[in-house]
Symmetry: C2
Subunit: 390 residues, 2 copies
């Protein structure tokens, strides 16, 4: 089964028992191969990265936190190269299985973590989300997945991509386990009451394919029934594609700064499209970067305005379910760009976002996302629990 799923990186087994007691005792977890596990190389999804960087001597904060809470580490999972990818196809390690849609990509870059959880190989798994790398595989594989408030968690020991947008997230198959893990990772109890106001982001739904929009309708209706006060709003008045452009500009320019020393020192082999993305980042004019930083301020302001305490907002996590595997590159790029547009608010505004599974299009999972204001991550978890319970 593990071989068929192809969730884990090749090499020695990475298994570590958790603390004897703790709130996560009895749970197993996997860690995306961007997270340091003491004594094992951090592979980063690229054979050159592990060879060209020292073996870590300490666990990443997220790994240590889960172990200390009693969860048991069962392996390190495949990631898109240095987290640069949204489909989950790695030319060196292959494509982890999307158990819910075996002829489709799992989504990335936290592809192996999502695949491992979806296949039942572990109870939870950690990933990273800079431009959608937890949210997208959660949508494509039919999982709960969170991108927490940017800056809330300690990212020590997680391979960075674009620190202004990097976050650590996690996946589970059910809301109850999701709540247990979230309480530990966010060090906060699930609040008793769900939010009081729901905003439906009409531009987000308009951006999705009609069948995805239709498939998500029952979930939106259950959410509206749970919360009550519901209204429609445009999330991004400047345009999702404008927010997408700003986020791509900031993220690629920052990723280039992150990886330039490695690339220019070690000249690693990379998939052509990954290399092209990095080079695009090296060519961002400073005036474009400055404009994008201003648009980031506008996006932050807009979402602060829309999401006062007690509010959440919903939109499709992805504009469609998982695409088929191994699309030709010229067909991949438009698909990737559409996915990233619908995720751009995450990197721009840094607000917490949780993917709710449960909808399908022709049997393929597709997720509904809920967003809350800065720091209100646990309001999203409470909503997920209430919705699954209800």
């Amino acid at each position: 089964m593990p071989d068929a799923v192809n969730a884990f990186v090749p090499g020695p087994d990475v298994r570590i028992e958790g603390a004897a007691e703790g709130p996560l005792a009895g749970l197993s977890f996997a860690a995306k191969d961007l997270f340091d596990v003491a004594g094992f190389p951090t592979g980063g999804g690229n054979p050159g990265w592990a060879k060209q960087n020292p073996v870590p001597e300490a666990h990443a904060w997220a790994v240590r936190t889960l172990l200390d809470a009693g969860a048991r580490l069962i392996g390190k999972t495949i990631t898109d190269e240095v987290s640069l990818g949204i489909l989950g196809e790695n030319p060196f390690y292959g494509t982890p299985l999307n158990s819910a849609a075996p002829d489709r990509v799992p989504g990335g870059s936290s592809s192996g973590s999502a695949a491992a959880v979806a296949a039942g190989l572990c109870d939870t798994a950690i990933g990273s989300d800079t431009g959608g790398s937890v949210r997208v595989p959660a949508s494509f594989c039919g999982l709960y997945g969170i991108r927490p408030t940017h800056g809330r968690l300690d990212l020590t020991g997680m391979l960075p991509q674009a620190p202004a947008a990097d976050t650590t997230g996690w996946f589970t198959r059910d809301a109850a386990t999701f709540a247990r893990v979230s309480e530990v990772m966010l060090a906060e109890a699930v609040p008793a009451d769900p939010p009081k106001r729901l905003i439906v982001a009409v531009d987000g739904f308009a951006f999705a394919e009609p069948d995805t929009r239709e498939a998500l309708r029952p979930l939106v209706e259950r959410l509206a029934a749970l919360i009550g006060d519901t209204r429609e709003e445009v999330m991004a008045p400047q345009g999702l594609s404008v927010w997408g452009r700003a986020q791509r500009t900031l993220q690629t320019a920052e990723a280039w700064r992150t990886f330039k020393p490695w690339l220019e020192r070690d000249n690693p082999a990379l998939a052509f499209n990954v290399a092209r993305g990095l080079i695009n980042g090296s060519q961002v004019p400073e005036v474009d970067r400055q404009w994008a930083a201003l648009m980031r301020r506008e996006a932050r302001g807009r979402l602060e305005y829309l999401l006062p305490p007690g509010s959440i907002l919903c939109l499709p996590t992805t504009p469609f379910p998982a695409p088929i595997k191994a699309l030709p590159l010229d067909q991949q790029n438009p698909v990737r760009e559409r996915i990233l547009c619908l995720c751009a608010h995450g990197g721009l505004a840094g607000l917490p976002q949780l993917n709710l599974p449960g909808a399908t299009v022709d049997g393929l999972p597709v997720g509904l996302s809920i967003l809350a204001g800065r720091g209100a991550d646990m309001a999203l978890v409470a909503t997920a629990l209430a919705l699954e319970g209800g």
Copy 2:
């Protein structure tokens, strides 16, 4: 020994007996892994290429010509990825040994062919030369090597890079074997008399490091003594760096057109600097390409003027001996650019050029090149024979 040299591509042995009789009977040869050998994948120096292209059903013209002449094929040799490289370091298959300078690169992209001949594993080996890929490893490994007149040989079955400049060349350790192989490949006997006029390209010598210039002086003096009428001339009045810029512009733009369908269909993994070179080619403005094509005309005109029948020109093949292995990328690029400048006339003018070994700097080989007019390839071979005999 073969393992230590790392000249050959991994995989099944590629061994084919030559015709029972022929002018090359008794000789062994190797073929750069850009040349088709029927029934074996053509690897092109990149693991993706072989997987993503059909196994050839016929031998490349050059392979068939040598086999028909009685030479025995003993293997396929490592090349820089799809011939894009001048140092000979392949991230997937490693760096073939430069037997004459074991801590140095062998030069590329015909790295394995040069390494196999230099180590005595075969008598001759074929390579390709677009921007210097035979001339540079010949200089660095201390071998005879030729870039024939562009368009003279049939390139069927050789993986193309930039067809306006692609050629098939070969290496040997001694002039007599070089003449035997050349007579077969060029289908022309060695002429009785060496050329009558020698031009010393003063700009080429000025472009080389002082110790390389000094090391080549005895070879130039022997050449002058052999030929008689000797004079100094500037080869590239517009500047070697201007010729280099024109050749780089034309070659990278054309290489992008060659490889774009593969890159965009199969998204292969490539070394970062190889991907960057291809992307640079995709970004060449049409006005720059047009300017470069005009400069190519000027270069052709200049060399036609300098090299009427009976004339040859000499210059250092490379500005220095082989650099040390695994230079950081930011130090590689200036080295690569200097090497390519001194080779640019080959792609621009398409004239035949032969590397004469015999000089060393601190024990490291460095070659002297002789050029002749279009089609006068065998005049160069005759000169090499006369010089070695004398």
